[in-house]
Amino acid sequence: MSCCAVGPEMAPNVDRSGCALPSAEELWLASRSLGGGLRQTDLSVPGVHCGACITMIESALRARAEVERARVNLSSRRVSIVWKEEAGGRRSDPAEFMQAITGCGYQAHLFSSGEEEGDGLLKQLIRAVAVSGFAATNIMLLSVSVWSGADAATRDLFHWISALIAAPTLVYAGRFFYQSAWNAIRHGRTNMDVPIALAVTLSYGMSLYETIRHGEHAWFDASVTLLFFLLIGRTLDHMMRGRARSAISGLARLSPRGATVVHADGAREYRAVDEIKPGERLMIAAGERIPVDGRVLSGSSDLDRSVVNGESVPIAVAAGDLVQAGTLNLTGPLTLETTAAARDSFLAEIMGLMEAAEGGRARYRRIADRAARYYSPAVHLLALLTFIGWMLVEGDVRHAMLIAVAVLIITCPCALGLAVPVVQIVAAGRLFQGGVMVKDGSAMERLAEIDTVLFDKTGTLTLGEPRLVNADEIAPGPLAIAAALAAHSRHPLAAALSGAAGAVVPVAGDIREIPGAGIEARTGKGVLRLGSRDFAGAKASTESARSEVVLSLDGRELACFRFEDRLRPDAGEAIARLHRSGLSTGILSGDHEPVVAALAGRLEIARWRGGLSPRGKVEASAAAAGGHRVLMVGDGINDAPALRAAHVSMAPATAADVGRQAADFVFMHQPLTAVPFAIETSRRAGRLIRQNFALAIGYNLIAVPVAILGYATPLVAAIAMSTSSVIVVANALRVKGAVGEAKVLYPLLDPPGATL
C-alpha cells in the first residue's frame, strides 16, 4: 500500500501507517447493539502475537470507564469490546478505543462482519465428529467383545445395541455425505461421497438384516468408524479455509465505509457508501480514500493512484478533474461532486470484468474429485462382480451380499478421504508460519502445476514507496533544508526525502503546503520552495523516467532530488529462485513503459508490458498463457480481473480489498521470496498427495483380493481400515520438513512504519 509514512507531527487520528483511522461515526455504524444501552464493536488487531499483547490491550481498554468487557482473541487476532452507550453522563466515543489500542503500539481496524460465514458449518462439522467419535468408540467396544467370543444371546444383544447407536449417528453425522452424494447423482456426476454413502448405507442395512437373523458378523463398527475418519478429513479441510479467511478478512479495508456528505444548506452528515447518490457533494479530508467516482468542485491535492492503476507517482488534481473511487487523497482537502453511485463506480466496472474472467478456480477439478471419477465406478463394478461371482459359485444370496458389502467397506476411500486434506492442512500450516495464507486446498493443487509467473509492478515487485536515488550527488546543506520542509507534508516523495536525511534542522519561518504543488517557506533569507519543477520555478529539464522534486531559493534551483520506487526486499533473489526452478517470468503493469522497462532490466525479467488497462492485463495474461498455466501476482484494483482470470493468483497483504478477494494466496511479509516459498511448498504437498494415493492404491491391491475371497471379517476390515489411515496421515506429516523460512508470523510489520 502506498500509505504515506508518518511525518514528525502526526495528526491525532492517524495511526502509525499514516492512514486515517475510522471516524467515530463509522465505528458507530459498524458496532451492533446488545440492548440495555450496551454496544459491541469487533476490531481486527493483526499485530497481537503473545500473552503480553493480550494483557496490554485488554488492560488499556478495561481502564476506560465506558468499557464493560474487552477480550482479545489471539487465534483470529481480533478484539471484541462491549461498551456502554453513555458513561459518566456523556456519549461514548468508540474512536477512543481505537486510539487506546494504537496507543499500545498496535494497529486496529474494522473488518466486514459479512466475512464471518462458514463458522456455523465448522461448528456443525465438529459436532458431527464428536458424535461419530462417541458412537465409534462405543460400538468398537461392543464389537471387540463380540470378536473375543461373546456367545449367541450376548452377541445379539451387543449387535442390537450397536444398531441403536449407529442409526442416529448415520443420520446426524452422515448427512454431509448423503447431501453431497445426492447432489452429484442428481446432476449426473459422481464424486467421492457416492461410494461412501452407498457403502455406509448398504453395510448398515446388511448388518441389521444379519442381527435380526442372529447372524455371526455385523459391520456397524466399520460403517461408523468410516464416517468418523472421513469427517475428520472434511473438518480439517474446512478449518484450513476458515483460518485463512479470518486472517485475510482481518486486514485493513481500503475502501471506506462511508463519507461526509454536505447538504445544500451546509449541514454535514456521515453516510454509508452504498447510500451516496450521484450529484451529491462530499468532503474528502487529506489522508482519506475517495469512496465513489466524482469530479473535484474545489480544493487541490495530490492523489495516489497506485492501487487503482499502478502509477507509482502521485498526480496533482484541481477543480474540474475527475477522480476514481479507491484513490488516496494525500495533501489537501477536496470537495467532490459524485458522478456515480458506489455500484456504478470504477470498482463496479472492475467487478464486471472479474465476473467475465472465467478463472482457473472455476474450471479446476480437485485431485480427489478427479480420482473419484475413476475410483467410484471401479469400486461399484468390483462389488457387483463379486456379488455375481459368488452367486455363480454358491447361489446363496445372503452370503454373496455379505461379501459384496465387505468389498465395498474395505475399498471405501477412508485413506483417500484423509490423504488430501491432511497433507493440505499441514502444508497450509507451514505456509502460515512463513506468512502465507491459503484460501483453500485447490489453490495449492493449482499452484503446484504452474509454469509461468506474471507480476504486477507497483506494490508487488516494488513496495510502492519511493526512495531517494541521487542522495550522494546532493550537498548536505540543501538536503537538510529539503528534509525539514518535507516533514510538513504527507506526500510520499516528501516522506522519502525526510527519511533519507539523517538529522533534520528545523527551518524557521512561515511554512505552508500548497496541495498539488509543493511546500513553500518564507524565511529571512528568501522564499524556499520544494516541489515540482514548475512550482519551484526552475527551468524545465529533460524528461526522465524517475519522479523528481526540486528545491529552490527565490526561484534559483538549489538541488534536484530524484526518486524511484523501492524494490520489495529479496525481489532479485525471489526471481532468481523462480528461474532456477524452471519457471518463466513476466511483468504486466499499468505504469509508464520506461519505468517498467528499467525495472525489468534490473530484475532480468525478459518479458514485460507497460501501460495496461485492467482489461489489457486480462488479455495480456491470457496471451502469455497460450497453453501455459499462469500464476498472477498483483495487488491493485486494476489487477483484480487478471488475478481472477489466472490459473492461480497471489496478492500481498497490502493489496486492495478487491485484489485480496480475487487472490488464492495472500502473503503477509514484505519479502517477495514468499512467492517461490509458496510454490515449493505446494509442489512438495502435491508430491506427498501422489505418494498417499499410491499408498492407498497399494493397500487396496492387497485388501481387495482378501475381501473378494470372503476372508474379510469385520475384525479384518477394522484393522485394515485403521492401519491404512494411520499410514497415510503419518506420511502427510512429512510436509513439515525443514521449515527454513521465517518462523515468526507476527509482528507483520517488518520495518517500523511499514503498513499492513
Binding site: M56, N73, T137, N138, T154, L157, V744
Partner: protein
C-alpha cells in the same frame, strides 16, 4: 450376563455425559481461541502490570523460542 443389564446402560450414560460436556464446551466458545488460552495461563488476575516488565519480557522470549 445379568451384570450386563445394568453395566451397559451405565457405560452408555457415562459416555453420553462426556459427549454432552464436550458439546457444551464447544457451544460456550471454549474452543474459539486456543492460542490465547495457552497464554492466559500465565495471567495472574491483574494482568502484567507495568512494573513487572520482567514477565512481559519472559513471555516475549518464550514466544520467540517456540
Amino acid at each position: 450376563m445379568t451384570t450386563l443389564i445394568y453395566l451397559m446402560p451405565t457405560a452408555l450414560f457415562l459416555e453420553g455425559l462426556g459427549l454432552a460436556a464436550f458439546l457444551w464446551a464447544l457451544k460456550n466458545g471454549q474452543y474459539d481461541d486456543l492460542d490465547g488460552a495457552s497464554w492466559r495461563v500465565f495471567d495472574e488476575g491483574q494482568g502484567f502490570s507495568d512494573d513487572d516488565s520482567g514477565a512481559a519480557e519472559r513471555l516475549e522470549k518464550a514466544s520467540n523460542a517456540n
